[in-house]
């Protein structure tokens, strides 16, 4: 049913902050579709990229998306997430490209880390850059947000990358009003972050208001875990434990969805979207600080990875 805005609001009508952020993100997506030749949307099955898919529907329906989706698969993902990814893509009727870290290892492009702390997180960057080159993508949408991490707080919505995929934080294009400069040379590309201005709480409130499905690991469940460096990691077949570590059952949920080897769970009883929103609103620790080992390596771990081509 059509709504009358003048009836629905007081004397000075305005959009709610979520609808204003949504509209800004839709605008960004349409600019990319119009100004770049061959974009791709990075879809990991995580909450931020789930929001990107809904925004793409809002930007381009009733037509198909003017770009394919791509997942950089480390091969160490949660099974629930891969199952969800494939189901969501099928529902949308869009095309998914899977870029595989395992293939990069098999082809000798990267060397697998060994030992109990081995992770494929670093290797993803090579797989991502290779896939961008192979398909000739000149723009890649990502679900990164500026509230996530302090290097990201400085990054533009249109983040320009040279032909090595590198980010140069000291030499970024100024971004004024809502005028984005997407001009690039052959071989260069732009990473585009339509939800740059959203916070983790905004993402969950949006998922709740749109009633979007998310992988089950975002909700509280019982899982076999082990404790390392103060984080609870999921145990899976093949994980090497360090002396003194034990496998035990715990009720956890995940705040972020990444490679199993570097993503920790949090103790939680939240089983519904509303309960997750309440939990996030009350939390006193950032999502990356609580759950991502990859950011704990050094004071500038994310900045260093982004300079090397990570998104």
């Amino acid at each position: 049913m059509a709504l009358s805005l003048e009836m629905a609001v007081a004397t000075r009508p305005q959009l709610s902050h979520l609808r204003a952020l949504e509209s800004e993100a839709i605008h960004v997506m349409r600019e990319v579709a119009a100004e770049l030749e061959k974009p791709v949307l990075l879809f990991s099955g995580g909450k931020d990229s789930i929001v990107l898919l809904r925004l793409a529907e809002k930007a381009f329906r009733p037509a198909p998306f003017p770009f394919p989706l791509m997942h950089v698969d480390t091969g160490h993902n949660f099974a629930e997430v891969i199952e969800f990814r494939d189901r969501r893509v099928a529902e949308l009727g869009e095309r998914l490209i899977v870029a595989s870290v395992q293939e990069s290892i098999d082809k000798g492009r990267v060397v697998e880390e060994t030992g109990p702390r081995a992770s494929r997180n670093q290797l993803q960057t090579v797989t991502l850059l290779d896939a961008i080159a192979e398909h000739g993508f000149d723009a890649a949408f990502g679900g990164a947000r500026r509230d996530e991490e302090r290097a990201r707080a400085k990054e533009r919505v249109f983040s320009f990358r040279d032909d090595f995929g590198q980010w140069d934080p000291k030499n970024q294009r100024p971004e004024l009003w809502n005028l984005y400069n997407g001009r690039i040379k052959k071989g260069e590309n732009v990473r585009v972050f339509p939800i740059s201005n959203w916070t983790e709480l905004d993402v969950w409130e949006y998922i709740d208001s749109e009633q979007l499905e998310v992988p089950s690991i975002y909700f509280s469940h019982v899982r076999d875990v082990f404790s390392r460096d103060g984080m609870l990691y999921a145990w899976r077949e093949g994980t090497e434990l360090i002396d003194g570590e034990e496998i035990f059952s715990e009720t956890v949920r995940y705040r972020t969805v990444g490679d199993m080897s570097c993503t920790g769970g949090v103790l939680s009883q939240a089983t519904t979207l509303e309960e997750v929103v309440v939990e996030i609103a009350a939390t006193r620790i950032t999502e990356r600080g609580e759950t991502r080992a990859d950011d704990r390596v050094s004071e500038a771990a994310m900045e260093d990875r982004k300079k090397a081509g990570y998104f």
């Binding site: 204003a20 030749e37 529907e57 198909p64």
Partner: protein, 454 residues
Amino acid sequence: MTLDLLRFTTAGAVDDGKSTLIGRLLFDAKQVFEDQLEHVAQASERRGGAGALDLALLTDGLKAEREQGITIDVAYRYFATPARRFIIADCPGHRQYTRNMVTGASTADLAVVLVDARRGVTEQSKRHAFISALLGIPRMVVAINKMDLVEHSQARFDELVAEFAEFAAGLGEITGRHATAAASPDAAARAAEISYIPISALKGDNVVERSGAMDWYDGPALLELLEQVEVAYDHPFDRPARFPVQWVIRPGAGISVGVDRDAPAGAGAPDPDYRGYAGQLASGALRRGDEVAVLPGGGRTRIVAIDTYDGELEEAMAPMSLTLRLEDELDVSRGELICRPDEAATVARELQADVCWMTDRPLRPGARYVLKHTSRSATAIVDRIEDRVDVHTLQRSQPADELALNDIGRVHLRTNVPLAFDAYTSNRRTGSFILIDESSNETVGAGLIAAACA
């Protein structure tokens, strides 16, 4: 009624306490997470901070910034209180100060201008106030900082308020909007409303909590003001509607090269004859049935439907993203502007604008650039530079033969295609453009349209 989301900007140089102020605001408003605090505690200790947390470290995101103790680039911070959500554009005040301040100011509803109570109203504070006024920010808060170092003196505060107010009264003269301000109904043309607050960012006086040290001040603390301030936006239904077309939605046509079009769209089988004009309403409101003009061509038609993913709307207001369907089969494409015929935008190929120059190689007459205005890109040639604002004295000097990095000046431009625009003072979205260097692809200038050339 207040805005649900307030975007504000701060600017400052190394020593005037800007990073400390933001750190204090976030810290006292309990918006700093435990792991972030731990980082700051460790870094403060490494720097020999004698047990005190260096709150400025909260906002410095890049390695080089932490190493050198400086802020390099605009950073965006997010925080919320039960009253409002906030986005802070935190602009460094030294190197490339114009570029950073203009960038931060371009999307802000409010500017927090810092004045050091000991040093008084410096060139730096004046420059920030000038850029905020030029960029049409409707509200300004002057935070007179380091009050603890002037014995919380009311006399010193009053003196600085008087000095700043006198300077601010002359701002209309320099920004060139004094002629239209009185007559214009538009918020952006009016002089910004200014509030003054005595604070100490270091001690936390009047930042989040009111200070016991300054009983003579009976106004709100900074955060209280930010939570309650009314930003003088006009009623969207009273403003001219402006809808730049971004993208044409045609499910019946292949859209992009290299994408598999055999896959069906998920929203059910689309009507192959569907043709929708997608974009974001830059200002005003549109209703189904409205007669509209498509600029620059001037063709007239009527809105038959306002589509969104969530269903059809009877009417829509800025800043919604929408898809319009039109009655006649006009050939409308990206870059054209839909508005009402009786309140149409100006169409011209020659225009005057204030340009902020953002790169080392100066702007000189005769140069060609790509000009991006709303969703349209054109080629622009700079015909002449009429004057230049001296950002030290804040006087418009004339004539000028070039604009160097950080300069702001009035230029005359010509474009290869007509543009449909408004004066920046009446519309920030349809009155602004950026200039892009054709060979390096860098964004080199920011433009604020004054008028078409006579």
